[in-house]
């Protein structure tokens, strides 16, 4: 695809996304669309560290939860606007990510992934037992000020849709800038040839720390949006390993290390999740889990390069196929 056609397709997609809720008025559909956008944003944020730098974090909910808790606590205790809280949450999450990342980046592969699970589980257990942070019960955000300034909308979900869309566009833009920057090239070098990169004088830890700080800040912003949309947060919903895994799943399903892969992955995953819940679920019989699990296994086994890999492999010739696979 030429550069011009790419830009045109991008603008068309954005226009479609902007017009979607005006064409589809059913609240249930709109809500599913918001969930898709939020999942996509988190997957794109995760991709900066997991996709470009190749550091598979299964603990990103720790940063998501930090964003949700920081903005919520600041607005409940100090009356700070959640918009400022979102920035504060992003800063705190970045700092936390650097503190966590510095020791964890000494570990590779499975070791790193499992250490990040430990981190999110520790944070969850600590918040669970910390009464002043709401403990296991969680925090109910006050319904005080509705409207844009208060970041609370209860008449229609539409504003959340556009905020989620804007946040996704921002995250994509950051991802795009990072991928094109010097840091982006270093990150890919670190992922593909860590020893060669090191021998050329690339400080592995420094660039990995930049990646995790950025990735965490964006995930935290997603956390604030979640808190403002749900108006309720607890450790189980915002600080869990399963949420962390979902962020990475969105990316792997769509295509790790590609700009739009996570967006496609989020669309498919959310559709499958909501669809199987509507078709089979509601009875608590776990059929939705069966479908979800089966889909993950099939993709991981047969299409590890994700949907993007399938598209590029099918339409752009066999050369681009399965970029992840070793010869």
């Amino acid at each position: 695809m030429s550069r011009r056609a790419g830009t045109a397709a991008l603008l068309a997609a954005l226009l479609l996304a902007a017009l979607f809720p005006l064409a589809v008025a059913r609240p249930a559909w709109q809500n599913t669309a918001i969930l898709m956008l939020m999942a996509a944003q988190l997957g794109v944020a995760w991709n900066i560290l997991g996709g470009y730098a190749g550091q598979v974090s299964l603990g990103h909910a720790a940063f998501f939860g930090t964003g949700a808790y920081v903005s919520s606590l600041l607005s409940m205790r100090l009356g700070l606007s959640p918009w400022l809280g979102m920035l504060a949450g992003a800063l705190v999450a970045s700092a936390f990510a650097v503190v966590v990342g510095w020791p964890c980046f000494r570990l590779k592969g499975h070791y790193f992934a499992m250490a990040t699970i430990a981190v999110v589980e520790i944070v969850q257990a600590v918040v669970n037992g910390w009464e002043r942070l709401g403990g296991a019960v969680g925090l109910y955000l006050p319904l005080a000020e509705t409207g844009f300034g208060g970041f609370v909308f209860n008449r229609s979900k539409l504003p959340y849709y556009y905020i989620a869309l804007a946040l996704l566009v921002l995250t994509l833009a950051v991802n795009w800038l990072v991928a094109r920057s010097r840091t982006g090239y270093y990150l890919r070098a670190i992922k593909d040839e860590p020893d060669a990169a090191r021998s050329l004088g690339v400080s592995l830890t420094r660039y990995k720390l930049q990646a995790i700080a950025l990735s965490a800040a964006l995930a935290a912003m997603g956390g604030t949006l979640y808190a403002q949309k749900e108006l309720f947060i607890d450790p189980g919903s915002t600080l869990s390993t399963s949420l962390s895994i979902k962020m990475s799943l969105v990316a792997i399903l769509g295509g790790v290390g590609t700009l739009f892969g996570p967006v496609i992955g989020a669309a498919v995953l959310t559709a499958v999740e909501e669809g199987s819940r509507v078709i089979f679920g509601g009875t608590g019989r776990g059929t939705d889990l069966v479908v979800y699990g089966l889909l993950i296994v099939l993709f991981a086994v047969y299409q590890p390069a994700g949907i993007m890999g399938w598209i590029t492999g099918r339409w752009l010739g066999p050369r681009a196929e399965r970029p992840e696979e070793e010869p």
């Binding site: 964890c104 776990g286 889909l295 296994v297």
Partner: protein, 287 residues
Amino acid sequence: MTQILLQTVLSGVLIGLVYALVAVGLTLIFGVMDIVNFAHGEFLMLGMYASFWGWALWKLDPLFTLPFTALGLFAVGALLYRLVIRRIIDAPMLSQVFTTFGLMILFRGLAQYLWSPDFRSVEHTVVDGKVAFGGLSFGLPQVTAAAGAVVTTGAVWWFLRFTRLGAALEATAADREAAALMGIDGQKMFALAWGIGAACAGVAGALLSSTYPIFPDVGASFILVAFVLVALGGFGSVTGAFWAGILVGVVEVVGGFLWDPAYKMVLVLSLYLLVVWLRPQGLLGKA
């Protein structure tokens, strides 16, 4: 005070020995083929349900059905290897992680579909009551579970150490290609590792079935501890996992007693982070 502390430490050892058995299977699979099995807790869950149904349908005690549970789980593990895992041996780490993670969700979903999310329990087992000595007292089911775990772990250790088949398995773990050149069928060894690994977790599930609630997500609380043991003991090391199990069991129970039971996992996981940071090869792992 010493009495209480001794009681607590020994309780920790008892549960730690069962943790170790769960981790032995996980570490064996990791050691032989470098794959972290996220669905390992689900083998334990299946072992628990096998015990439950034997008891609920035919009034058979979990200890009597244990050999069948072990065989059944061996078949599940080996079959899972043949059907799924075989295809991802050389895949990128990310696909491996998500394959076993997907299996975990699939198994939980199937259990919920077939057997409902209700909590089940096995009651009136053959082994019941308490043992007391020197002012200390332990539940007999817990002591039996720990003893059964030690015997099973010991059997796996003996198998790896003193049988030809075990040696072949160890050889495949050490160097897959060199082992293949010696005429060892790698595919068979991998299937064997998955069979034994699943059987270990299944036996642990059977041993725990009389004292733990049985439900589709029960594996979740054990998989995390098993990961910690595997990392502490050194990836692939059976004896390492054994000693790490005892250590973690004691840390968990004593920490929960001295501090707050809600924070016991924080202690265990912090210990894990500290060790992987200072000694990435594990406490007992070789550098």
